[in-house]
Every structure is written in C-alpha cells, then in structure tokens.
Amino acid sequence: MKKVAIVGLGHSKFGVRKDISLREMAYESVKGAIEDCNVGSVDEIEASVTGITSDEFAQQVVPAPIITDYIGMVGKPNVRVEAACATGSAAIMTAYSWIASGLYDIVLAVGAEKMHEAGTSHATEIMAMAGDSQWEYGPFGVTFPGFYAMLAIAHMAKFGTTSEQLAKIAVKNHKHGVSNPNAHMRKEITVEKVLDSFMVAYPLHLYDCCLITDGAAAIIMVSEEKAKELTDTPIWIEGIGCSTDTATVMERSTFTGINSTRKAAQMAYKMAGITIKDVDVATVHDCFTIAELLAYEDLDFCKKGDGGKLIDEGETYYDGSTPINTDGGLKSKGHPLGATGISMAVEISKQLRGEAYNQVEGAEIGLAHNVGGSGQYIFVNIYRR
C-alpha cells in the first residue's frame, strides 16, 4: 500500500448557524482546506468523499451532489458514506484506501451536518433511530443519551465512578474549547453547574451531553509523491482501525465499556506499529462525558475501572500527561455528526504541526477515536508528523 498524508485542513465555525445552508457551510471548510496547502485550486483534486449522516437533518435525500456541485467538483468521482456519528471517519477511511491502492493521488474528504433546524425533540428522535428502531427505540423509547446513561449506571455500579468525575470531563473540555474560535460553546463551566443542570437521562445531566450543532470540516489527502509538492508539513496516516458492535445495546457482552473501541484500537496500534504509550495527544468521542471516560479505558490510556481516577488527577488536560480533546471535544466544540471525524483529524493534524490552540509541546503521534451510534461503528486512526 502507498503511504497517505493529510496536507490541507479546513474547518467551518461550529455552532447554531442560522445564516448559512449545508452546502455553503461545506464550501467554507473546503475553501479553507485548499488554501491551507499548495494545491492551488479545486481543479487539482481528483475525487471526493462526502460524509453526511442523515438525510433527515439535511432535508435532502441524496445530499452529497449539492455539495459536490457547489464546490466545483462536477464530473469527478464522488461517493457519500455514512457510519452514524463516525461518518467523517468513514470518509477518511474511504479516501485513504483510494489513495493507498493507487486509484487516485489527491482526494478531498468533506463532512457536514446541519442539525439545529430539526429542533430538540425531532433531533433526539432522528438520533435515537440510529439505534435499533425495531427492538429498542420503537418499543422502549431509549434515546441516544439513554443508551449512554445505561452505560454510565453500569460503570458506576461496578467501579464506583461518580457524577462528579463525569462532570470534571465536561469542565475540562469546556476549558479547552474556550481557546478554539471554531467551538460552539466557548465558556468555562464548573462541576457544580454540571451537577445542577437538568437531568436529561439519569445519571446524565444537560452538561454531560454534547450540543446540537451545525458545522463542516474538510481535509485534502494525498499520496507520498504529491505530499512533497503540496506541503512542508505532511501528517501521515499510519494506522486505521475500524470495528462494529451489535445493533441492539441489550445484546452487548458488556455495559461497562465498548468492545468495538477495544478491537478498532488494537487494529490501529498494530498497523501503526505503536502502543498507547507512544501517543502524545488524542481526540476521543465525548458525545457524553461517560463516553470519554469509557474511551480512556477501552483505548488503554488507563486500566478498566480507572477512568475516573485519570480525570480526578487532571491528567487529560492539554498540559497533563495524557492530553485528550484539546480542541474542546464534542462537548464544547460541538458534534455535527458527519463533520466530527474530519474535525478530529484537523485538530490532531494541527497538534502534530505545532499549530494548535492548546498546543501539546513536541507532539509527534496523535490518535483520533470516533464512535458511531453507541458503538455500532468505531474508527481509531493514528497520525504521525
């Protein structure tokens, strides 16, 4: 396989974007990615992969062509991919394999989602139906926060994890998000504020949950030969792990972790020839605070059951021993489903280039962990400068 690098990074403002359409938001991020490297114009890009999770959010069945057309790539190869909340990472994996196989040398991966217009109740339902609608949502009304709440209860019962520890993860990510101009909610919060906030799904409070956000992100991915022409700071994709888990949550073999994270991580570490100890900086999928805590354990940043201790000690702040979600994470930056995986690649690439808002000094190897649904899809990517 050929080596594959990320050379161009583009990121729209994440937030409630009342002033802009899906295609216009995608354009913002694509233009940013083109201007970020020496590719010059869109004419040089051979093909594109579009990540959009929901036609319902897009209010557009077959949503990729409206973007492909708007960014001037009519006539060129394109596919739209979907892997729930990990759609952006599915786009990266697709583009990676096109380049690694030699099919194309320059590929654009763009992810976007416009979510706020659906309203909270409808948005909750769209995301709940990403679970098993025959056996779990339709019969029992278990929403996306509901599934993670059940994982939190099981973890608390087995390991003594507390609501305060979960709140500390939110506090950390909000602190990181303050420095990120593209983040949705740039304000610091306190543990008390989290614990006093509305209980969405016991034991998860409002501030344990990520936001309903509009946004887009884009990266330009190239072969080794092209990388030399286009940038002095290529970021290499060294490992890709992808795994899946049962459609229903009730059929999972454990409720205190996500097995597919464990499997994807092992694939990615093996492919990159590293261990978790080599990772200098990471973005993990914190759609809920419990999701970040489970990721600490399932990615092997700490032992099973020790996730609470890791945040208690403050080790996952950007200046700690294990910097995680230095851009504010999904919690503060926002989680426009299709864009998230690509936004993670943007943050890790910036960290490895030394251009991040909360820079981890001397970071050489980065990890991105992206969950689709409640583990139905997992992607773990390893990046190196």
């Binding site: 139906m129 019969p139 009304g141 009730m250």
Partner: protein, 136 residues
C-alpha cells in the same frame, strides 16, 4: 398484535413473538444447528446463516444489569416522560438480556444494579403489547 409502544418496524418473520407475549410467554429463538439462543428473536442464525430455528421460552427472571430514567424523549415518546427502562440478565444465561419498562410499582429511588426483577408481557391499548420489569 404488535410489539412495543410505538412500533416502527412491523413486518417481520418473527411477528409470532408478539402473539406469544399475549399468551404470557417471552420467547427467544434457538438455532437447531449450533444451539445459539437469540433474544430479541431472529428468523436466521447469524453464526450458521440457517433459518432452522425453533422458538424457546425464556424464564424472564434475572438481575438488573442497568437502567435509566429519561426526561427527554424523541417526538414519539414526548407524552411519556419521565419514563424508566432497564435491561436484565437472565438467570439461566446472563448472556441473554431483556429490555423492558421498569414497572411503576418499583420506587425509582430503590432501583439498584443486581436486584432481582422479572420480565413480563404487558398489554397496551390499540392491540399492542410490551414488556415490563417487575419485582419478583
């Protein structure tokens, strides 16, 4: 007879599941070839890719593995909030898990992982039937 409060997928090879609930039985399926038991029931075995399955009755008795109380629901469940659902692991095989509504007879404050609960069918209006988790 349809399964669930707001049935979404109703055309299925395992529609008999809801009919058996009406007879007060919670049924899984068992692959005749490899013996794998499925709950929720499946028409085909994912291990053998065979359709030679038989219905097996599950005890419904087990321990609470996890639960949550939802104060925000999707559009279909807005009128039901707050509602509490849980998952039990069956006593005969903890790998078989059943989701259900926690009965209103159980005080939410007293819910605890590991407590004994029993899954039982509960008839709803409009020819629908669901599963409730009750105290043993």
């Amino acid at each position: 007879m349809l399964f669930g409060k707001n049935p979404i997928i109703t055309q299925t090879k395992v529609s008999e599941f809801a009919e058996r609930l009406k007879e007060n039985k919670i049924m899984g399926t068992k692959c005749k070839k490899c013996g794998q038991i499925y709950y929720p029931p499946r028409w085909a075995c994912a291990k053998c890719l065979t359709e030679e399955n038989e219905w097996v009755e599950l005890s419904g008795e087990g321990k609470l593995a996890t639960f949550t109380t939802l104060n925000v629901g999707g559009t279909k469940f807005e009128k039901d909030i707050p509602y509490t659902v849980g998952i039990i692991e069956l006593k005969e095989d903890q790998n078989i898990k059943i989701m259900g509504w926690i009965s209103n007879n159980i005080d939410r404050e007293n819910l605890e992982v590991g407590m004994d609960l029993k899954a039982v069918p509960k008839t709803l209006e409009d020819d629908k039937i669901t599963i409730e988790l009750i105290k043993v």
